[in-house]
Amino acid sequence: MAKVIVVTSGKGGVGKTTTSAAFAAGLALRGQKTVVIDFDVGLRNLDLVMGCERRVVFDFINVINGDANLNQALIKDKRHDNLFIFPTSQTRDKNALKREGVERVMEELKQQFDYIVCDSPAGIEHGAITALYFADSAVIVTNPEVSSVRDSDRIIGILASKSRRAERNEPPVDVHLLLTRYDPARVTKGEMLAVEDVKEILSIPLLGVIPESESVLRASNTGTPVVFDEDSPAGRAYVDAVARFLGETREMRFLKPERRNFFRALFGRA
């Protein structure tokens, strides 16, 4: 049975789209047939991060409205056969997301895929609620700072009260914490919340910690999900997180400040 994963946070700019792209690609690399959907109607970004912006013809809203069929709108990723992108409309707004239409599309996607990753817009309004409504699992993207933690807490509460599982009294949405833009050096200096602090406040299982890394920005700008960059600590952290999501046990990495290499420091190339 296909599983619907929502990537959400409440707060904007914490890394939802980057995570959606990396997570979907990571699942595909693990042999799971995966589609990643952009729910941020009107602020279409996922296609850029996935590097398929020049191939968008039809979008999510076209399919909801019956102007196109699903297979006309799905874009197959060039790097991996298991990976598909379902872009959204840049010209419409979130009110175009009609729940019945979304439900019909979701049911159709479930016939074809193992995992459906929903990239939620920021906020707690209609767009975000629609993105999380059909979720079986949720990845709560949180930055190690107090405002992000509070917004994550809010969205966890909404998942527990407004999702379809909650409305139907089914087992609750399986919620996971993903801490992004983590900078161990700044945590040591007390400028950033530590993993333990965030875990304690949100009290949900930790899926992974993604270190702050230049490779993330580079990946976004070149339209390559960061998991495809094997040299990047962030990419490897996402690979770990996906493995944990699939039930593997992996030790948490990147929690301590990187030790600077003595020789590199000596030659000024650190």
Partner: protein, 226 residues
């Protein structure tokens, strides 16, 4: 004119003076002071003399003395209550009526029938997330998990939190000043009892992250260790 129109029932609010207090020498001056604060309210006000716990006052002349004393304070005795037979006779001779003991001066006994069941406390076992408000109407509220910042607990009775309290807690929301807040780890943003409140900035630093109870003492919201 029909007889029915000549006598009608009516209800009045009458103050009660306890005769036992009259023996206290300070009582008269205290009463005079109170009357001095709102003289209009007490001007020729009717009062009833409560004889509970008083053994003497069996002569009409004694009642006349009290009547004069109170008259000097602008009060007019109209009757007595809780009188023994001899006292009642003397009071009648002094022209005072007999009043049935009023409900407010009677000791409260168990009424007929079973007492109403105590309201059951509302129990919450899952983390109370930011943005959630829980209201225990007419009862206590018990939370056995953490309360996140931005969450709000409201109860007409007491609030108990067996977890970290990081949000807001408002006990005695309908005005019960005897309500309290109990918490095993206190990091609240705001606490309130019967409308008096403290924000975290005003709380003493030493109580943070400790086990506390919060009560209203002399109209002051007081946080004390458990």
């Amino acid at each position: 004119m029909a007889a029915g129109n000549m006598v009608q029932g009516a209800l009045f609010t009458v103050m009660v003076v306890r005769a036992a207090n009259l023996r206290d020498s300070a009582f008269e001056s205290d009463l005079a002071q109170q009357i001095g604060r709102s003289p209009r309210f007490f001007q020729n006000a009717p009062v009833v003399l409560d004889l509970r716990g008083v053994e003497n006052l069996t002569e009409a002349s004694e009642f006349e003395t009290i009547r004069d004393k109170l008259h000097a304070l602008t009060l007019t005795i109209v009757g007595v209550q809780n009188a023994q037979p001899a006292q009642l006779e003397a009071a009648a001779a002094a022209g005072l009526a007999s009043f049935a003991p009023s409900a407010s001066t009677q000791p409260r006994g168990a009424g007929p029938g079973a007492p109403p069941p105590a309201p059951k406390a509302r129990l919450v076992t899952a983390t109370v997330r930011s943005g959630t408000q829980i209201y225990a109407r007419g009862s206590d509220l018990i939370v056995t998990a953490a309360v996140s910042p931005g969450a709000e607990l409201v109860a007409d009775g007491n609030i108990h939190v067996y977890g970290v309290l990081r949000g807001r807690a408002l006990a005695g929301a309908s005005g019960d000043a005897a309500a309290r807040i109990f918490c095993t780890r206190f990091e609240a943003e705001l606490v309130s009892i019967a409308g008096s409140y403290l924000v975290s900035e005003q709380m003493p630093a030493g109580v943070r992250s400790t086990s506390v109870q919060i009560a209203l003492v002399d109209d002051q919201l007081t946080i004390s260790p458990n």
